[in-house]
Amino acid sequence: MIRVAAVGDIHLGEDSRGVLRPAFDTLGESADVLLLAGDLTRHGTVAEARVVAEEVEGLPVPVVAVLGNHDYHDDAQHAITEVLGDAGVEVLEGSSVVIPVQGTRLGIAGTKGFGGGFPGRSAGEFGEPVMKAFVRHSRDCAQGLERALRELADRECTTRIALTHFSPVPDTLAGEPLEIFPFLGSYLLAEAMDEAGADLAVHGHAHLGAEHGVTPGGVRVRNVAQPVIGKAFAIYHLHPSAQKPATATQPSPTGSERVRT
C-alpha cells in the first residue's frame, strides 16, 4: 500500500510561520510522500517561499510540489522553485520524479496547468495574440504533463500520480460559480492523463469546489485545496498490485507498460 498525503492552496504569508508544521511533523506515521498542489504562497514572493520551505524542510517523507498562480504573481517562480529545492522539495513543471515506496516505484508527474474550460465550453487558440497565448499556455502545460506521465511508464512505475494546480475536470469544481469554470481548469489536463495513463490525479485552485471527481477515461481526481479538505492534508491509500489499468477504456502501449512490473 502506498500512502499519499496531499494539500494545495496553503497560501502561506510571512505571518503564517509554523501554522502547518505541527501536523506535517506527524507525516512519518501516516504517509509515504507529501504532495503540494500549488498556491503555496500568498503573493508569490521569495520571502513567503522561505516560510513554505521552513514548514516542510526536514520532514520524514519526501515532498513533491507544483506551483500555483499565486506563486507566479511576483514573477519570482524560478527563485521560489530554487528556495523550495534548497529545502529538499522536488518542484515539478512538465517533469516527473520516481519515489521508491515499500518495494514499489511511485511516479509523480506534475505541472501547474492552466485554464480554458471543459468540453463543449472551452476556449480555442484563435483571435487576438493574448487569447492565443492563453490557450497555448494551457496546451503546453498539458503536453508537459503527458510527456512526464509517459516517462514514468518507461521508468516502470507501478503507480503514477498526476499533480496539478488547475483542475482537469469540472466535477471537483462543484460549488464554484459555473461562470468561472474556464479560469479554474482545462480538459486538456484530463485528456493528457487519459492518454498517458494515471492512477490518481491531485489538484487544488478551486477553494469552493468539491473533493471528488473522475476524468472521462476513469482516472480518479481529488481536489485537495485546503479550504476544501478543511485539514492540514488529506491521505489517500493506493494499492499498486490491485489497481485496474487507468487506461482500460483505451489501451495504449504505455498503459500496458504500467502493469509489467
Binding site: 500512502r3 492552496d9 496553503i10 497560501h11 503564517s16 501554522v19 502547518l20 505541527p22 501536523a23 506527524t26 501516516s30 500568498r42 503573493h43 499565486h70 504573481h73 460559480p177 490518481l200 477553494h207 469552493l208 480518479r220 481529488r222 485546503q226 479550504p227 476544501v228 479538505i229 478543511g230 485539514k231 492540514a232 492534508f233 488529506a234 491521505i235 489517500y236 491509500h237 493506493l238 494499492h239 490491485a242
Partner: protein, 84 residues
C-alpha cells in the same frame, strides 16, 4: 453626478481590493443576494477573516453584509481514503 454607484460595481471594486491588496484573496464568493451582499468561503485564520470583513465594511459601507466565512482547520486528518 449624485446617483449612487450601482451595488454591482461596488462589489467588483471590493473584489479587486481583496485580490490586489495584502490579502491576495481570490477564493471567496462575493455576490448580491436581494438587497444584501453575501461573502462566503474559507480563510486561513480568524485574524485574516477580520481583515476581510473590515475591508468589506469600508468598501461596502451602507449595504447589509451577510458573512459566512469559515476558518480552515490545520489539524492532521483522522482518517484516510482508501482507493482500491
Amino acid at each position: 453626478m449624485n446617483t449612487p454607484e450601482p451595488t454591482e460595481y461596488r462589489i467588483e471594486h471590493f473584489r479587486d481590493r481583496l485580490a490586489g491588496g495584502e490579502l491576495a484573496e481570490l477564493g471567496l464568493l462575493v455576490e448580491l443576494r436581494g438587497a444584501s451582499v453575501l461573502i462566503r468561503g474559507s480563510v486561513p485564520s480568524a485574524a485574516y477573516r477580520d481583515r476581510v470583513l473590515d475591508l468589506a465594511r469600508t468598501e461596502l459601507a451602507g449595504l447589509a453584509i451577510h458573512a459566512d466565512v469559515v476558518v480552515a482547520g490545520h489539524a492532521q486528518p483522522d482518517r484516510a481514503e482508501d482507493l482500491p
